[in-house]
Point group: C2
Amino acid sequence: MRIGVLGAGQLGRMLALAGLPLGLEFRFFDTTAEAPAGQLAELQVGSYDDPTALAGFAEGCDCITYEFENVPVGATRFLAERVPVYPPPQALEVAQDRVVEKTFLGGLGLPTPVFYPVLSKNDLLDGLERTGLPAVLKTRTLGYDGKGQRVLREQADIDPAWTALGGQPLILEGWVPFEREVSSLAVRSRSGETAFYPLVENTHREGILRQSWAPAPALSPELQAQAEAYTLRVLERLEYVGVLAIEWFQVGGQLLANEMAPRVHNSGHWTIEGAETSQFENHLRALLGWPLGASLSRGHAAMLNLIGQQPEAARVLAVPGAHLHWYGKALKPGRKVGHITVRADSAEVLAERVAAVGALL
Amino acid sequence: MRIGVLGAGQLGRMLALAGLPLGLEFRFFDTTAEAPAGQLAELQVGSYDDPTALAGFAEGCDCITYEFENVPVGATRFLAERVPVYPPPQALEVAQDRVVEKTFLGGLGLPTPVFYPVLSKNDLLDGLERTGLPAVLKTRTLGYDGKGQRVLREQADIDPAWTALGGQPLILEGWVPFEREVSSLAVRSRSGETAFYPLVENTHREGILRQSWAPAPALSPELQAQAEAYTLRVLERLEYVGVLAIEWFQVGGQLLANEMAPRVHNSGHWTIEGAETSQFENHLRALLGWPLGASLSRGHAAMLNLIGQQPEAARVLAVPGAHLHWYGKALKPGRKVGHITVRADSAEVLAERVAAVGALL
């Protein structure tokens, strides 16, 4: 059974590490030969707008998935005429445009921040009259890790933001006075079976995820149930197959959907050591229609991203319960090059261990 | 950091799966191009008696280890002149000859079964006068998975056993009326740090390991302490680096050493899901002088070998807590092609789950 994966970054690499023990083979497609999944599986280098390359890639794959949400939807539809592509291209289409995404989520009854499509400076000013300040101006497409967005805190921020981002389709979002950011990780199999991981709490800096704590501290059964009920609507409407991540703002006992990612997700890396079944294995089980594995957490875990830095492995591993994941990428400032998951049986011990790892970063 | 591994079978493959996340690269050496670790890392095909091939292999490796104990000792000594080779070649030398091995272990004060070197039929008959029947006749070298041994239950078994095995150096071992077979898994780092996994109980059929239960049911702290104390003597005498497995017979509260394997071991596969740190990761940490990871079990685990059979993945994974490991080998009768680890938080639930998996085999 050979799985084709569009994109050969660290998510693809971790998919392969999870799937090789299951007897699966992998073939990756990427635009660059240095992509790290190529270090352990077949890698085809090509362009997403080259139908011959895509057709050649699909040949011999039993199923195709993707590891980043900026894959051209056209490429996935082209491939889907040949072999099953999961998650369904429609999920990709929804996730690639923040206005389409929030409209879709809102249509399913999920609360979202107030938002306005912005094509012109006038749209922006109109929108701001309704949101007030602060607000957030973002590109509708191709944004990730905080790229392509500006927070508007005061009047003086408006012009520079427009200069930086104007000229492309934008979205203006009302500021949410959130208590914290959490994310949900769900998986739905080709058979319709679903599983939900516990909500995790995420902290970002400079728009990039820095830490995820799982389960989210003080997670109430009510909040978990709310996330699962909302997510289930999305899974079912899209006839979704695979792992789906949704990032939420928590305001009191209420979740507001911020964005969704139709793929395995950085905030789910803790599942490798912290859950009975990792998000990577469950994604693969879902694609193949195999029974899903248990998604409960085993104890407590925290994931710390390694961004533009490579702490000494021996010092990291000296911390009990610390697990190092290096992605095989060259070190560059601002680049995600690895992560550390710290595990413990109690939240108290976890906090001590994370502090010890944090001191090395 | 590139690790060279002699042998590219399933143990090498699982070493690579554990080491890739640590940022390690792997280069395997094997006599056959179909060796399964070659599916995810560089594989050099060659002969262990070809110095040019070995020298070429060593070049660019920071450290070399091996995944089976029948590697010619000469090859490891040749390599050790170029790069560090762990476990030390002396450990290999001891483990490759059952008489040397039992003499060595006995010299350290470890109880072993009574044994006699057998070179002639007369030696055999002399030995039997002292051991009585039943007894076990084994080749001194190259035995594994029950190959090269015969149990002598009655007088009529002696001639056929001699016909089958005579003409090579043999060992006659007194029969041990053991209650069960257990194995210990220990690891010693280049820095001298040691860690011990809990003893596991093993069951064999036709000389091949079928199941390991971890921790061994009803494991007493005294038995664990006894195993650790004995094993520590071996680790220290050999200035050992890496994972060392020792198989024991348990008779009442006493352990008798049966054999040692200077490598990661089939009875330690449960550590992938069942311990905080797997034997594969700890073997690599030891070679590199990195701190060892916690070797405590997380709940209860049982490992079932897949020998000459491939149960349907979907049916295996339908059992909660079941984890499938397929080695990427062609299916052949009697061949170890994979294993299943079943995990549970209690011994009772584990037994139910193992029964469910067992029904598929």
